[in-house]
């Protein structure tokens, strides 16, 4: 067990190092342009104006942009390890602070969306599996396909159109009370709900074909007992793995949803910083999103043996 955790921790650190350096090199591969963007903000306060060559040169010297990428990455990584992600080119604010202020908004959104997808997707998936090939099953499957194919940004606009503008039931955009959560959560959670439903259906069907279910039936156990204690417990394993992976999609989706609903999370921060070419903020937000995604999957890997003792034994 401990060995397994240590091994996974090693892989975790390795992937984190490689992925941050990859992002760093990608963002810094055009050093001249970076210096130019910084000079624009520092000397002119506006990205639309062009700085002079002297100004660009000054910025390069001040921020050591002429150094090799590797040594620049080394200083970034050392600082990041000590909790210093640098300052925004645009606002000069500490990147870490900017991220930490916005992090709760994103986490709230993603967690409630996951919860929604499990609470709606799992019962519907089980229902579809139990009533396989019935109208209910087909209806569930059709809704799931629709949920997966619908672009979330379009769903957001449709929901705003119907529930905010026409029926005036929910606020259009913004951040505040629980009512502000409804539309963003529904938009973000729809695709995941559909995925959870499909997976629960197929996973339950798979489990229901197993010998031990037949044995349980043969013993004369109650249908409900079989479903809950025998089927669901085993059907849960792939669903848990999938939720970890799906969380990444949710974080990606949050980027778009936060922009539409003016939700002050790190997704919106990322889009704003990309438009402004604010490299330290892009680098910082990507680090956090990757970190959250990896931490969640790491935790799921560690917790796996609890759900499936067969894995722990090997």
């Amino acid at each position: 067990m401990l060995n397994n955790i240590l091994k996974r921790l090693g892989i975790f650190c390795l992937v984190l190092t490689v992925s941050t350096s990859l992002v760093f090199f990608m963002l810094h591969s055009l050093p001249g342009e970076n210096a130019e963007v910084m000079a624009k903000y520092i000397f002119l306060g506006n990205v639309e104006l062009n700085p002079s060559n002297e100004e660009v040169q000054l910025v390069k010297e001040k921020f050591d942009l002429d150094r090799s990428l590797l040594s620049q990455y080394y200083s970034w990584a050392t600082n990041a390890f000590h909790g210093d992600l640098g300052r925004s080119y645009k606002t000069n604010a500490h990147v870490l602070e900017e991220i930490l202020i916005r992090l709760p908004a994103t986490i709230t959104l993603a967690l409630i969306a996951v919860l929604m997808s499990l609470l709606i997707g799992m019962p519907l998936g089980i229902l579809a599996a139990v009533k396989q090939n019935s109208t209910t099953d087909y209806l569930c499957s059709a809704t799931a396909v629709l949920g997966i194919s619908m672009p979330n940004f379009w769903l957001a606009l449709l929901l705003i159109m119907v529930f905010s503008l026409a029926l005036k039931l929910t606020p259009t955009i913004g951040y505040g009370g629980p009512s502000h959560l409804i539309l963003p959560v529904v938009t973000l959670g729809t695709a995941t709900t559909a995925v959870v439903m499909r997976l629960t259906r197929s996973s339950t069907l798979e489990v229901m074909r197993q010998d031990y279910i037949r044995t349980a039936r043969g013993k004369g156990l109650d249908h409900r007992d079989i479903m809950i204690t025998h089927s669901l417990k085993n059907a849960l394993i792939p669903i848990i793995t999938m939720v970890g992976l799906e969380f990444g999609h949710l974080l990606g989706g949050a980027v778009i949803i936060e922009t539409i609903f003016a939700w002050p999370g790190i997704g919106r921060l990322l889009i704003d910083s990309i438009s402004a070419r604010d490299i330290p903020v892009i680098q910082g937000t990507v680090l956090f999103i990757t970190l959250m995604y990896m931490l969640l999957n790491f935790t799921i890997d560690i917790l796996y043996p609890i759900f499936d003792p067969r894995i722990g034994g090997s």
């Binding site: 992937v15 490689v18 992925s19 990859l22 992002v23 990608m26 963002l27 591969s29 055009l30 396909v145 629709l146 997966i148 194919s149 619908m150 672009p151 940004f153 379009w154 606009l157 449709l158 705003i160 159109m161 503008l165 990444g248 999609h249 974080l251 990606g252 989706g253 980027v255 778009i256 922009t259 990322l270 889009i271 910083s273 990309i274 438009s275 070419r277 490299i279 892009i282 990507v286 999103i289 990757t290 995604y293 990896m294």
Partner: protein, 282 residues
């Protein structure tokens, strides 16, 4: 072989959803090719007198904030979307399959390095990685293609590698080796054709998600730039007029969904027809 093929075809044609998907895609492709002939108006013609007109006989999908005909822009938008997505899928599948076959056939250090690289790249949610690349290169259509392609090949490489791993153990490969065929010839003549069925399924399903990514980036203002007609950026432009002119958002979104849905149906049908067990990723 021919018998198997025709049986697969029958199986595919029995699936009504897949056939419907195929018909929709064929219609969209025809519209994209014949855009110059069937679009009723010039897409760039600005007519401020005609702006924000609701759908009518003259303009079946209404007009936008600059008085341009939405239907014509949708038809040309089909062309933009299909050109971009087919290009992306062609690039990513070719590169991904090439890498996957090399990793799966030769195994060893190359395989280990390539697969770890893919693991690292897959540690990011794909849209985030695409956004980082656009963050580095700047917004625009070409950069969108580059960003989505750099992320997209990973899945092909994984599937191609997994299939190659099982194919390389087959007796006919051993036979080819015994006959003195070179590795390159074996990969091209025996491994590649046997890798194709799952790859074709993946390509169809992938076309749907690539269309979604292109539209999402267009919607965020990072993909195709105005005045190029593209579904995602049309949605973005229409967003401001959501209250009074909902048609500006309804039609482009509907088209995106229709195209994605159609590709998903075709992909599902193909997967069932070929062999569901060959697919290793969802």
């Amino acid at each position: 072989m021919t018998l198997a093929k025709s049986r697969n075809m029958d199986e595919f044609l029995k699936n009504r959803a897949s056939v419907a998907g195929l018909i929709v895609i064929l219609m969209l492709i025809t519209a994209a090719i014949l855009a110059d002939f069937i679009a009723p108006y010039d897409t760039d013609k600005i007519a401020l007198k005609e702006k924000l007109k609701s759908p009518s006989w003259e303009h079946p999908m209404g007009t936008d904030q600059l008085g341009r005909d939405v239907l014509s822009r949708m038809i040309y938008g089909t062309r933009t979307t299909f050109e971009l997505s087919i290009l992306v899928v062609a690039l990513t599948s070719t590169f991904g399959v090439f890498i996957g076959i090399i990793a799966g056939y030769f195994r060893g250090v190359i395989d280990e390095i390539l697969m770890r690289l893919i693991d690292v790249l897959l540690a990011f949610p794909s849209i985030i990685l695409a956004l980082v690349i656009i963050g580095a290169l700047g917004p625009g259509m070409i950069n969108t293609i580059v960003a989505i392609s750099l992320v997209g090949w990973l899945f092909y490489a994984r599937v191609a590698r997994a299939t190659t791993l099982s194919i390389r153990e087959k007796e006919y490969i051993e036979g080819a080796r015994a006959m003195g065929c070179s590795d390159g010839y074996i990969c091209l003549r025996y491994v590649l054709p046997n890798c194709l069925p799952p790859i074709i399924v993946l390509m169809t399903l992938n076309l749907g998600s690539v269309i979604l990514s292109i539209a999402a980036l267009g919607y965020l203002g990072l993909g195709a730039q105005p005045p190029t007609p593209e579904w995602g950026s049309m949605l973005n432009e229409g967003r401001e007029y959501l209250r009074d002119c909902p048609w500006l958002c309804v039609f482009p979104g509907l088209m995106i969904m229709l195209a994605v849905l159609a590709f998903n149906f075709i992909g599902d049908g193909l997967r069932d027809a070929i062999d569901p067990r060959q697919m290793v990723i969802k």
